[in-house]
């Protein structure tokens, strides 16, 4: 599926991001979200000018692969991104999807309508708010990893590299775990060969994914379309 390919080619450590979101106390997650939004405001002034000029809007984002819920507010107010709370008034709209899908949308790597048609993305409430945000974002070239790494100032390059190395190891480990889990279900007679075969396949898949990311990075660095 083309959409999945676009998500796999992403150069963003989603495993690490999910792990950090799960392990980090809420106040720190909120600080990180606010800092990231501030960084993006500095790097994408046209986007934030358009958001400022929009009508007052609150959109709730529910990650289907994380327990975290975020609330984005913009229009007639300084945009803010924080964790959603139980006592928040109802948002104008709600978007539900995986972290991969939402990041791919944010970075313009995937078509939101296609995700909607296949129900990989669920929207509720005020469609105009979501359409406006989607169309404004699609005008920009955003790399969330670059924005996040920029928060570390002179350590940007180191943090970026470390995050991607960690992600690569996590992907390989995940591949081995999946292979081992699959091997347990097989008959004992060919257990060893099947497990090795599956482990190799998993490693190849992990390497393919890694290669795709490196290719995407190379193309981006050479100024070619990803």
């Amino acid at each position: 599926m083309a959409g999945r390919k676009a998500m796999e080619e992403a150069e963003f450590p989603t495993i690490l991001a999910r792990a950090l979101m799960a392990a980090t106390p809420s106040p720190l997650v909120e600080l990180g979200a606010a800092a990231l939004l501030g960084r993006m405001r500095a790097d994408h002034p046209d986007l934030f000018r358009a958001l400022d000029e929009s009508r007052r809007t609150a959109i709730r984002f529910e990650l289907t692969d994380s327990s975290r819920r975020f609330l984005l507010r913009f229009g007639e107010q300084r945009p803010s991104l924080r964790l959603a709370r139980a006592d928040d008034p109802p948002a104008d709209a709600c978007v539900k999807g995986s972290l991969d899908a939402l990041l791919a949308l944010l970075e313009g790597r995937i078509d939101g309508d296609a995700l909607f048609f296949t129900r990989a993305l669920v929207v509720e409430g005020d469609a105009a708010a979501i359409v406006t945000l989607r169309n404004l974002l699609d005008r920009e070239t955003i790399s969330v990893l670059d924005e996040a790494a920029s928060l570390f100032g002179p350590l940007k390059g180191f943090v970026r590299g470390a995050a991607l190395r960690w992600e690569g190891r996590a992907e390989r480990l995940g591949g081995f775990i999946r292979a081992a889990a699959g091997a347990e279900d097989r008959p004992r007679a060919n257990d060893a060969a099947a497990a090795e075969n599956q482990a190799l396949r998993a490693e190849i898949e992990a390497l393919k994914t890694r290669l795709s990311k490196l290719e995407a990075r190379r193309r981006r660095e050479e100024g070619q379309p990803a």
Binding site: M1, A2, G3, A6, A50, G108, R109, I110, D111, G112, D113, A114, F116, F117, T118, R119, V122, V123, E124, G125, D126, A127, A128, I130, V131, T132, L133, R134, N135, L136, D138, R139, E140, T141, P225
Partner: protein, 333 residues
């Protein structure tokens, strides 16, 4: 300007980023509209202002490609200024042609900007030689965009009897109604696709999960109810699921997208000049993917080879996740 290969590939751009994506992916021509009611994709956050059009034209011309500007809605009574300004801005900013539907606006463009090419929008619903000759003789129209209701045989028969270029739709959402004359959405929302440029305007659309189902509404009217994992569609009235004699069904049109990639040889043999990709309301990712697939297909056909598999993958981004040849194959009922 670069000469098109096999057939001219005319691609949509709802934003400057989509315009660049279309050009980079191999579009011969890109069409876009201004950020107001003068074009038929007047959705929030979408479209160009005059400065963005200038930048887009410069980007395209530097690469030997063309930019068309759609001013293809119908001016409201006593409110023609926005439409005149749009035609003037397209001419001033270096557009290669304007895509028009209204006869008054065609007349204005022909008199005020005689050197600017005029294409007849699909919104004019011109589908017979008498009508097309009228536009050519009176307003110097150079190209007609044919409505999506003709079979390949009908396209061929029509082109044989007209003296201007013909552009046909090759990919994207379908409209089942007489183009430019559909009022279904207006009845429900009070805003007209033909004069406000919005079918199912976003501010009138809502989605809500109700138990096992997702329900879409346009204004107060339920347009569909989707079961879990069932592919969804745009909330337009013509794609509504209606209960007829107790059975829910897609009475007018199923949620499915057009993909004519498999009949490009037939369309070329029919005398078609250009292929139009629908979707200015879609993202730059959609534009890049569809344009690249059609570019590869047209280049392969020009070399005498079969179409590559890339066009098959387009099903996943089509409306409803399904594709059809629609009227090209089945004929109009």
């Amino acid at each position: 300007m670069r000469e098109p290969t096999y057939l001219e590939l005319v691609c949509p751009a709802g934003t400057p980023a989509a315009l660049r994506a279309a050009i980079d992916a191999g579009a011969d021509t890109v069409y876009c509209g201004f950020r107001d009611c003068t074009n038929a994709r007047n959705y929030p956050g979408l479209n160009f202002d005059a400065a963005e059009l200038s930048e887009g034209v410069a980007y395209a011309h530097a690469r030997g490609r063309r930019v068309l500007v759609a001013v293809n809605t119908f001016p409201r009574a006593g409110e023609v200024e926005a439409w005149r300004r749009a035609v003037d801005a397209a001419a001033d900013r270096g557009a290669d042609a304007v895509i028009l539907a209204d006869i008054g606006l065609l007349d204005y463009a022909a008199r005020r900007h005689p050197k600017l090419r005029r294409h007849l929008s699909v919104q004019a619903a011109a589908s017979n030689p008498l009508s097309i000759d009228f536009y050519r003789e009176n307003f110097g129209v150079s190209r007609v965009v044919l409505p999506r209701v003709l079979s390949v045989q009908e396209v061929a028969a029509l082109i044989a009897r007209i003296k201007i270029e013909a552009e046909v739709f090759a990919f994207g959402s379908l409209g089942t109604m007489v183009e430019g004359r559909c009022f279904l959405s207006s009845y429900i929302t009070g805003r007209s696709p033909s004069s406000d440029g919005v079918c199912a305007p976003a501010e009138c659309v809502s989605y809500r999960e109700e138990g096992e189902f997702m329900v879409s509404r346009l204004g107060d009217v339920m347009t569909n109810r989707y079961a879990k994992r069932e592919n969804a569609a745009y909330p337009t009235p013509c794609k509504s699921r209606l209960v007829v004699r107790g059975e829910p069904s897609y009475l007018f049109e199923e949620p499915v997208g057009l993909n004519a990639a498999s009949i490009l040889k037939e369309l070329k043999a029919a005398g078609v000049t250009a292929l139009k990709i629908e979707g200015r309301q879609r993202s730059r990712a959609y534009v890049g993917q569809v344009v690249a697939a059609f570019r590869a297909t047209l280049d392969a056909l020009a070399r005498g080879e079969e179409a590559p598999a890339a066009v098959d993958a387009l099903e996943t981004i089509a409306e409803g996740g399904k594709v059809t040849l629609s009227a090209y194959q089945k004929g109009w009922r």
